[in-house]
Amino acid sequence: MQTWNYIEYAAWGLSALFGLYMLVDWFRTDTSYSEDVLTSSREGELEALTEEEHKA
C-alpha cells in the first residue's frame, strides 16, 4: 500500500506548514507592535486599578 507513505509525507508537510505559520506570524507580530503593548496584560486587570487608587 503506497497510500500510507503519501499520508506520512502529507503529515510532515502539514506539520511544517502549521509550524511555519506560527513562526511567521509570531515574527510579524513582534516586529509590528511595541513590547509595552504586547505585555500590557495585567492579572484580573485589577492591578492597574489598585495602583491608581493608591496614588489617588
Binding site: 503529515a11 506539520s15 506570524d25 503593548v37 486587570e45 485589577l46 492597574a48
Partner: protein, 478 residues
C-alpha cells in the same frame, strides 16, 4: 474597593483597565465543561488500565472510586477558591494570594509539567492509533509514527494560537462525541440492548485480587489517571464571561460526567478483557475501550471507539496546550518567569509566546521518552498539586473567614474534604513509591533545586506588593 464584586457580571473588577491587550472573555459554562472533561476523558480511553495491572480488576474499581472521592474534594475546593480568585494561571494565582510566592512558583511548574507531559502522552497515543488504523487497512510494514505525533501537537498549537473560542468549541464537539461513544459501547455490550457480552464472574474467577490488598494501594497510582486534569478548568478563568458562576458549574458538572464515564469504562472493559491483558498498557491493551469494541464483533463499534479514542486524545492534548500555556503566561506576566512570556497576541488575544515555546518541550518528551514514564511524570506533578490544595483551602478559610469576602461558591463540610484529600494524597504517594520511587525522589529533587533557584535568584525580578491583585481586605493574622 466596595464597588467590586466577583459574583457580579458588571462590577467584577475585570474591565479593560490599564491593559491594552488582554485575554478575550468569550467562554460560557459549556466551554469550561469541555475544557475539564476534554482533558481527562482520554484517561478512560487509555492509561487507567495500568491500575488493573497493578492490582487486578477489583483493585482498579476501588482505586477508581477512591480517586473519585479525591477528585470530588479537589473539584469542590477548587470551585470555592477559583470562584473568588478568577485569573489565568488558576491554582498558581490562588497560591500566590493565599500561601506565598515560592509555593505559587512551584504550583505553576506543576501545572505546566502535568499538562505538557499529558499532552506528550496524548500525542504518542494518537501516533500509535494511526499506525493501528494503517495496519487494519492493509498497510504492510511499520508506519513511521513521528510525523503524526508532530502533526497532532503542531495542529493543536496552531488552533490554540488562533484563538480560545474556536479551540474550546472544537473541544466541546469532539469531547461530546468521545463521551457518547463510551455510552454507546456500554449500552450495546452490557445486554441492555441485544445480547450482552460482559462476563465478569467468569473472567474474574481465580484472579479476584492477584496481589492481595497491597495491589489495591498500588492501583491508586494509576487510579488518578481516570480524572487527572479536571482541575484545569480554572485556567480559563480570565476568558470566561462570568467566572463566579461558570467555573463552579462547569467543574462540578465535569467531575460528575467523569465519575459516570470512569465506572462505565471499568464495567465494560473488565467484563470483556482478561485482566492480565487489560492491565498491560504496553504489550497488552494500549487502548482498552477500542480493544473491547474489537471483541464485540461489530464493525460499527470498532470504528466508533477508534474515532472516540482519537478524538479523546486530541481533545486532551488541545486542553493541555490551553492550560499549560495559561499557567506559563501567568507566571511570565508576574515576572516569576522572564516577562517576555507575558505577551498577548494583539489580534487573536492568546498568550502566543507561551504556546509556541511549549511546543518543542512537548515534542522532546513525546518523541524521546516511553509512555509510562511520561504518564508518571504527569501524575507526579498532579499529585504534588493535589497535596497543595488542602493546605491552600485551610489557609484560605483562616486568612479570610466566611463573610469577609464574597465567594461565588462555598464548599460544604469544611475542613473534612481537605483532610480526606490530604489522606488520599498520602496513600497515592505510597502507591507511587511502590513502583516509581526513584522518579518520585528525582522529581522532588528537581523541585527543591528550582525552588532554591527561585528564592535566591529569580524572585528579585518580581514586584512585591503589586503581585497581590485581588481586591480583598488584609488577611487575618498579618
Amino acid at each position: 474597593m466596595a464597588d467590586i464584586d466577583i459574583t457580579s457580571k458588571t462590577m467584577d473588577g475585570m474591565g479593560p483597565h490599564g491593559t491594552k491587550v488582554g485575554l478575550l472573555r468569550v467562554l460560557g459554562p459549556a466551554h469550561v465543561w469541555a475544557l475539564g472533561v476534554g482533558i481527562v476523558l482520554v484517561g478512560e480511553y487509555m492509561g487507567w488500565n495500568f491500575a488493573v495491572g497493578k492490582g487486578g480488576a477489583y483493585a482498579a474499581l476501588i482505586a477508581c472510586w477512591f480517586a473519585g472521592i479525591l477528585y470530588t474534594c479537589v473539584a469542590m475546593i477548587d470551585s470555592e477558591v477559583t470562584s473568588t480568585v478568577a485569573a489565568a494561571g488558576g491554582q498558581y494565582t490562588q497560591a500566590k494570594h493565599i500561601v506565598g510566592p515560592l509555593m505559587a512558583f512551584n504550583v505553576g511548574l506543576y501545572l505546566t509539567f502535568a499538562y505538557t507531559m499529558l499532552e506528550a502522552a496524548n500525542a504518542i497515543t494518537a501516533g500509535y492509533l494511526i499506525s493501528v488504523v494503517a495496519t487494519m487497512t492493509g498497510y504492510e510494514g511499520a508506519l513511521d509514527q513521528r510525523p503524526f505525533i508532530i502533526l497532532s501537537i503542531l495542529f493543536l498549537a496552531w488552533l490554540n494560537y488562533r484563538g480560545v473560542l474556536a479551540t474550546l468549541t472544537f473541544n466541546l464537539v469532539i469531547t461530546a462525541i468521545a463521551f457518547v461513544a463510551i455510552l454507546v459501547l456500554f449500552v450495546s455490550t452490557s445486554g441492555i440492548i441485544g445480547t450482552g457480552i460482559v462476563q465478569h464472574a467468569a473472567l474474574f474467577e481465580g484472579h479476584e485480587l492477584p496481589y492481595g490488598w497491597i495491589g489495591v494501594l498500588a492501583a491508586m497510582h494509576f487510579g488518578l489517571w481516570y480524572y487527572l486534569g479536571i482541575e484545569g478548568t480554572t485556567q480559563a478563568a480570565e476568558e470566561v464571561r462570568s467566572p463566579a458562576r461558570a467555573l463552579p458549574f462547569g467543574t462540578l458538572a465535569g467531575i460528575m460526567t467523569l465519575l459516570i464515564a470512569a465506572t462505565l469504562t471499568w464495567y465494560t472493559c473488565s467484563g470483556v478483557l482478561p485482566w492480565e491483558f487489560l492491565g498491560d498498557g504496553v504489550n497488552g491493551s494500549v487502548a482498552p475501550l477500542f480493544d473491547t469494541a474489537r471483541l464485540s464483533g461489530s464493525n460499527a463499534l470498532v470504528w466508533l471507539l477508534g474515532i472516540g479514542t482519537l478524538f479523546a486524545t486530541l481533545a486532551s492534548a488541545n486542553g493541555c496546550i490551553n492550560d499549560a500555556s495559561r499557567a506559563w503566561f501567568a507566571m511570565g506576566r508576574d515576572k516569576y518567569l522572564p516577562g517576555w512570556f507575558g505577551a498577548v497576541h494583539p489580534k487573536y488575544r492568546t498568550p502566543y509566546r507561551s504556546i509556541v515555546f511549549l511546543v518543542p518541550i512537548a515534542l522532546i518528551f513525546a518523541l524521546g521518552a516511553p509512555l509510562d514514564q511520561v504518564i508518571t511524570f504527569s501524575i507526579l506533578s498532579g499529585l504534588l498539586e493535589y497535596t497543595f490544595m488542602p493546605l491552600n483551602i485551610i489557609l484560605f478559610r483562616k486568612k479570610w473567614p466566611m463573610g469577609s469576602i464574597k465567594r461565588g461558591y462555598e464548599h460544604p463540610f469544611h475542613p473534612l474534604p481537605a483532610i480526606v484529600l490530604l489522606c488520599l494524597c498520602g496513600i497515592t504517594f505510597f502507591a507511587v513509591f511502590l513502583g516509581y520511587g526513584t522518579q518520585l525522589v528525582a522529581m522532588i529533587g528537581f523541585y527543591i533545586v528550582v525552588s532554591l533557584w527561585f528564592h535566591f535568584w529569580r524572585y528579585r525580578f518580581v514586584n512585591r506588593g503589586a503581585q497581590f491583585t485581588m481586591p480583598w481586605p488584609k488577611p487575618q493574622g498579618y
